[in-house]
Amino acid sequence: MDLSLTDQQEMLKQAVDAFVSRDAPIETLIELQQTERGFSDDMWRTAGELGWLGMLIPEEYGGSDTGYTDAGVVFEALGKGPVPGPFFSTVLAGEIIKELGNDAQKENYLTRIANGSLIATLAMSEPDYQWGIAGVQLTPTEDGEDYILNGEKSFVYDGHAADLIITAVRTGSGDNDISLLLVDTSTPGVSARKLEGFTSSESSVTFENARIPKSALLGECCEITDGLHAALMRATPLLCAYQVGGAQSVFDLSVQYSRDRVQFGRPIGRFQFVQNHIVQLVIHLDSARWTTYEALWKMDTGRETEAAIHLAKAVTSDGYRQACDYGHEVHAGTGVVREYGLTLYTRQSRSLFHALGEPRYHRKQLAKLMPTLQLDDE
């Protein structure tokens, strides 16, 4: 048992921390949040150059093939920023292609993901919003060697910035008859519109008579649900790690504010009601942190992960959201001033609450495991 980071993980953490404090301080991120693109291509390029996008990609495609915990450390440090950008979306796409792509597809896409020259994302949910396979109803029509797509994908993270959108479509009448299409966003008829609001990078992707060759099918048609599920599950704790980093920053800000803000003749952190907010905050933070890291460890060591990952996502999505709520209780008026920066995290906490399934979705999956759950007993 050793809950410390390895030397390599420490180095990764320090490298990302240094990048964040140098290139992505709060002031910069506040400005970025108001741009149309919403993230910095320079930061994206840096991530590519430093190998952060290729951490889970095999060396034969130019990746470094480190473990999931290493990748988690990087995502946590990015989340502390909170550095915006299609980092997670692209890494998720990499996991899906790694799992389901044929050799040519892997060669084509994984190499470019690893070197940062491809922005990619997954499009699953639709206007009748529901996370999961059941929410995929978009059905292409067949025209010779091509599919024709008409319809909409909703709430696609980084859809507006992506070069490649892995699009889930329904290709048969059975519940699991889902296929994934590798859609190049320069294809005529494919357009994406970033959704403004209390959002991060969600977009609406519209298909209007978009012609997609059948060769763009990822893996085999109509047999991919297990592989998609596996890839989604493996990527999930990385998003959790990003959320943990954000919650950590909210904690740090709140503790510092409790020391700096003086009212009634003393720092407000001396008042027990204020203390209670931070107590609850740190419990959410540490619950998220340790369920996430145990899930990452289980993946790295080939253990059963289904329950651990659902647990981590439910706890973390709830935890980040509530951490921000408590942070706002501590900060009062100061916390809602845009240039203070707390709201960057609040916005992320709301947006990522939905990514890869809401807490209720994950708790429901856990619930369904109960009849057959095997308890760890090593």
């Binding site: 809950l3 952190g269 203390q275 740190v282 145990e294 289980k298 708790r363 856990l366 109960m370 308890l375």
Partner: protein, 407 residues
């Protein structure tokens, strides 16, 4: 990062050794854990463990400890936990906390005299902190110890003490200077329980202390002009508050745990056995949701326990982690017992020999989850400690330091 002990060849060999030893020495326990018959078995196990140096694995060998490193220690705790045995396998609050305090604060003579009987399992020790006048405000104790020649004369009343099945030594916080400044007038004594003037009387409480075997009953301990030799004062006269920081640090959860989360596995097993509308209860979606609630609480509790165990045994600097896990455990107890109500209905409340399917566990837990809110510091006190250790509203220099421990 590694959430399980790494399986070095040495650890594997040690694990085999421990398992085989436990096959020979672990007692068969039937019926009430607290019965005199079972208690005697747990004590014998304690003495047997003490022979091996396994009753206090990381303590120095010269005092009867095992002098073991972290890697072996965690294997030992895991194997004991696997058989639902704790280390020590009986209630020994004073031995655990007093022993730790003596290791840090005791004189060499005191360590030689007081530690081996604890670490070898020969004596059971209770801690005596709370009095009618002083609970959360521990420093307000009015159990007085007045110097008289080579002795101190102790007078006072301590409550919520100990457990059942008797005691040998009393690790007691006293006030040695009633007129002195708060926090600077306290002293600790290791007092033999058979000294004249000591009376022990059981209290009548809601349930058991929830603290493990032998803690089924809490007691009032009266000191009526008890003459205690001065060499029993540990850590310096009027220095007791400093000594207390060691004691309380461990009591507030810093020591951590690698024990299994029994309540989820029990609830799951019973839900698979019980039936609803002709199907196993576990197939009902509401029941599944309750099980997920229990799972979540017990998993987070387990993870906080492991984190603290590792930090404590590898001597990481700890701040708020002890009280955080105590607070979480206390509050989750209420959440879990509520979920058990909703899962099993009024079965959660009865220990009737015929109706109850839980061998008394459900009824006992409903009570002990309530009782558990206060021992080792109330839930509120845990939050206050977290606030101080995190340094809320305090500069770094003012941050309240965690007590020094050697575990």
């Amino acid at each position: 990062m590694d959430f399980a002990p790494s399986y070095t060849p040495e650890q594997e060999a040690f694990r085999k050794e421990v398992r085989s030893w436990l096959d020979d020495h672990a007692p068969v326990i039937e019926g009430d854990q607290d019965s005199p018959e079972n208690y005697a078995k747990f004590r014998q196990l304690g003495r047997d463990l003490g022979q091996q140096g396994w009753l206090r694995p990381t303590a120095p060998v010269e005092f009867g400890g095992g002098g073991m490193g972290f890697e072996e220690t965690v294997v030992l705790y895991e194997e004991m936990s696997r058989r639902d045995l704790s280390i020590p396998p009986y209630y020994d609050s004073g031995g655990w906390l007093g022993g730790a305090s003596i290791l840090v604060w005791g004189s060499d003579e005191q360590k030689q005299a007081l530690l081996p009987p604890i670490f070898k399992g020969d004596v059971v020790t209770w801690q005596l902190l709370t009095g009618p006048e002083a609970g959360s405000d521990l420093a307000g104790t009015q159990t007085d110890a007045v110097r008289d020649g080579d002795d101190y004369i102790v007078n006072g009343e301590k409550i919520y003490v100990g457990g059942s099945n008797g005691v040998d030594m009393l690790w007691t916080l006293t006030r040695t200077d009633p007129d002195g400044e708060r926090h600077k007038n306290l002293s600790w004594f290791m007092i033999p329980a058979d000294l004249p003037g000591i009376t022990i009387r059981p209290m009548d409480l809601l349930g058991d202390g929830g603290e493990g075997v032998g803690s089924g009953v809490k007691n009032t301990v009266y000191f009526d002009n008890v003459r205690v030799p001065a060499e029993r004062l540990v850590g310096g006269e009027n220095n007791g508050w400093q000594v207390a920081t060691t004691h309380l640090e461990l009591e507030h959860g810093a020591g951590g745990s690698v024990a299994r989360n029994l309540w989820f596995s029990r609830a799951l097993e019973w839900a698979r056995e019980r039936r609803l509308n002709g199907r196993p209860l576990v197939e009902d979606s509401d029941a599944q949701d309750r099980l997920v609630e229990i799972y979540e609480k017990t998993e987070i509790q387990r993870l906080f326990g492991i984190r603290n165990f590792w930090m404590n045994r590898t001597h990481q600097a700890m701040t708020y982690e002890g009280p955080q896990s105590s607070y979480f455990r206390k509050l989750s107890g209420l959440d879990i017992t509520t979920a058990l109500h909703e899962l099993f209905g009024p079965y959660a409340l009865t220990n009737d020999e015929i109706t109850d399917f839980s061998e008394g566990a459900l009824d006992a837990y409903q009570r002990s989850a309530i009782v558990a809110l206060h021992p080792g510091g109330t839930a509120d006190v845990q939050k206050v400690l977290m606030a101080r250790r995190i340094g809320m509203g305090r500069s770094e220099a003012e941050r309240y330091k965690a007590g020094k421990t050697v575990e």
